[in-house]
Symmetry: C2
Subunit: 415 residues, 2 copies
């Protein structure tokens, strides 16, 4: 075991130093730290292009992805902790409209450009390519808003709610499109009932998390508080975060949706009491948020890794770059329809549209499933289309922070 | 990526809850929490024996071992932080004597029982089996001492120093014995020079860590303190911990030796300033130790996993159990010679001997190397001997906490 861990240790030390240094550098020039972390990752991951091959193994270092995944779960859990469920519900109608528009428009545009670029492919293939553009990956936007101190604004709540809803809608689209493709390929009838059950499970989980989540979470933390030892409520909170994420994954949603839900129903005050400090007067005092040090360790690992995965060499592949740029353009433009879904007056509609741009894991998972489906003997998602989706995910991720910062600064110059 | 992570999330939630609950239970009956975590792991890992197979995948869940390894590194880093280098040097002569006795005696006894049990094997095989008993795994002992609030006693410092030294001695023994075996098997002469270089590198690392480590660590933290953003010194400390651990691994030592050295040369005050809290008077205050929440998350994962790896079914293998128990007996007895190495008066010699009992990764790694070496066509470490070493590691790990607690309580009843 010890020998396996060495590449991970070197990777971690490098990622932590590069991520924090670049983050600090970007903060100093008024940019969010997350942009620095992404850039640090891109630089470390593409040193091979400059002839430096010592770090080529970094992108695949065993364990980095695992720590990154834990990091993004904890990040979304903390975002949930700081989000007021009632305030989120208050903008629920907007979130729903934003999510619906943000699924339909990119999907339609994506199918259109696929039909134009690959005229000989069957229509179901175009529908599938469109489906890879549907789900927003809320991590980047939430992080930019947090870096700018705007996480608890109305725009942020609308985006978070819409991201949860569009994860469900994306699951619906994937289930239906993949189901129709599988049925067509095998000459069977599409099984609408089992497709409905897939989506029903996801909705059931979300409803249960919101209705039962709070009493369950409260009860668990109350029991934890009565156990001896330090940090018990922290451990209980982490277990709830991982447990909710696991459940979300089991019903087909992104685990971060579960982690966010776990944070939404938890009470930050329980966590602040995890490590009481004895003051001079002998009384116990709550210290800072115990999740903050854990997040400071693991969250940058996720964002640096996202940068590491941007393989600049992929941009040079002939025949891929053109379609990738087209796909990215409709991915970005498609989500701007979200602005029309904001019902509140005085709300920054453009910022909501920009905040919905990032695509992530879910798009990659959709594309990955597409590579395993066949239609008339050919894979639904060809290697070239898969590469294009990977580039689209990278570009939408990188484009969001600067666009969002520009927009929010322009609207709030006095901040 | 997201789909792979689900088994890990379920395993983590279960490990955290079971570990903390069992730890709290054992604390309530006056036992160290670590014993509860080990027992929780054994129970979870062996439910298959009771017909419950739902958790059979837990032991191998992708990622648990990685988080556990990070946890034990951070634990040893914190032990190093709380250890005063000067006070450790003051008991250095004892540590050296304890380490030397604790390597020679178990090795000699181990070779003897191997020669008795496997009379037809060549002497080099017996020497190799003896070598698997040399290195103390200091994690368990350090944790028991910390749980009992005795981490900064003289006995603790002697044990820590001896564990660092016996890691070097173990490396020396392994290099020489494996080198002689490889030379004998291939009919070459033993290359003493390259064996000396293996050990020289390790000594060089330790010397450099102790001499250059403090200025390097100081300089890194000073630079970190001047960067904007929260948690910068924490990130720098983590990077130093992982960097030192990586270096230790690269020179052939256990990574935890590097993590301990990193903690030894760091200043806890730098860490306490990582997350300043703004008080009512507007001034910034240092909050608690930011490593404590990270440790509360990851350290129990290591100790629960050690329990998970105790495969009770292995005890039932015919022909293995007898030798395993014999090996365990000499592993325990051999380290009691360490008591003779304690030079300080009024020091609890018995506690030092008990504290040196646990064997861990290093013994397993030695045995693993032995399975890849051959002598006259047969592997130096047979599958049966390997299983016996695994059982010996488990039993010495489990035996230490109760023995150490009994001894320390008996000597300090007023605590």
């Amino acid at each position: 075991m010890s020998a396996d861990i060495l590449p991970l240790l070197a990777a971690l030390a490098l990622i932590l130093v590069a991520g924090r240094a670049a983050g600090a550098g970007f903060e100093r020039i008024g940019q969010p730290a997350v942009l620095g972390e992404l850039v640090a990752g891109i630089v470390l991951g593409n040193l091979g292009l400059a002839g430096v091959h010592a770090l080529d193994g970094l992108r695949a270092a065993h364990g980095v992805a695992i720590l990154a995944e834990i990091g993004v779960l904890l990040f979304l859990y903390r975002v949930g902790l700081e989000t007021d469920l009632a305030e989120m519900m208050a903008v629920g109608a907007s979130s729903l409209a934003v999510a619906v528009l943000g699924v339909i428009t990119p999907m339609a545009l994506g199918a259109l450009v696929s039909a134009w670029w690959f005229p000989s492919s069957p229509p179901l293939v175009h529908a599938f390519v469109g489906a890879t553009l549907t789900a927003t990956s809320v991590g980047i936007t939430a992080r930019v808003l947090a870096d700018l101190g705007r996480a608890d604004g109305r725009e942020g709540r609308i985006i978070l709610g819409a991201a949860v809803i569009d994860d469900v809608l994306g699951l619906l689209v994937l289930t239906v499109v993949a189901g129709i493709i599988a049925a067509a390929d095998h000459g069977r009838a599409f099984d609408a009932l089992s497709a409905a059950w897939v989506v029903g499970k996801a909705l059931l989980f979300l409803a249960a998390a919101l209705v039962l989540g709070r009493p369950v979470s409260r009860a668990a933390l109350r029991i934890a508080e009565r156990l001896p030892g330090r940090g018990v409520t922290l451990v209980a909170a982490l277990a709830l975060c991982f447990g909710f994420a696991w459940l979300a994954g089991r019903v087909g949603l992104a685990p971060i949706v579960g982690a966010f839900a776990a944070g939404l129903v938890a009470d930050p005050a329980d966590l602040a009491a995890a490590f009481p400090a004895r003051a001079a007067d002998g009384a116990h005092h709550a210290t800072g948020d115990p999740l903050e040090p854990i997040a400071a360790f693991l969250v940058p690992v996720f964002f640096v890794l996202m940068g590491l995965r941007v393989d600049l060499a992929a941009l040079a592949q002939p025949g891929v770059l053109g379609f990738a740029l087209l796909l990215t353009a409709v991915a970005v433009l498609g989500k701007q329809a979200c602005a029309l879904g904001v019902l509140e007056k005085g709300c920054d509609r453009i910022a909501v549209g920009l905040g919905m741009i990032p695509r992530g894991e879910v798009g990659l998972i959709f594309a990955g499933i597409g590579t395993t489906l066949t239609l008339g003997g050919a894979p639904v998602v060809s290697p070239a289309v898969f590469s294009a989706v990977v580039i689209m995910v990278a570009l939408t991720t990188l484009a969001t922070p600067p666009l969002l910062v520009m927009r929010l600064r322009a609207r709030a110059p006095a901040r």
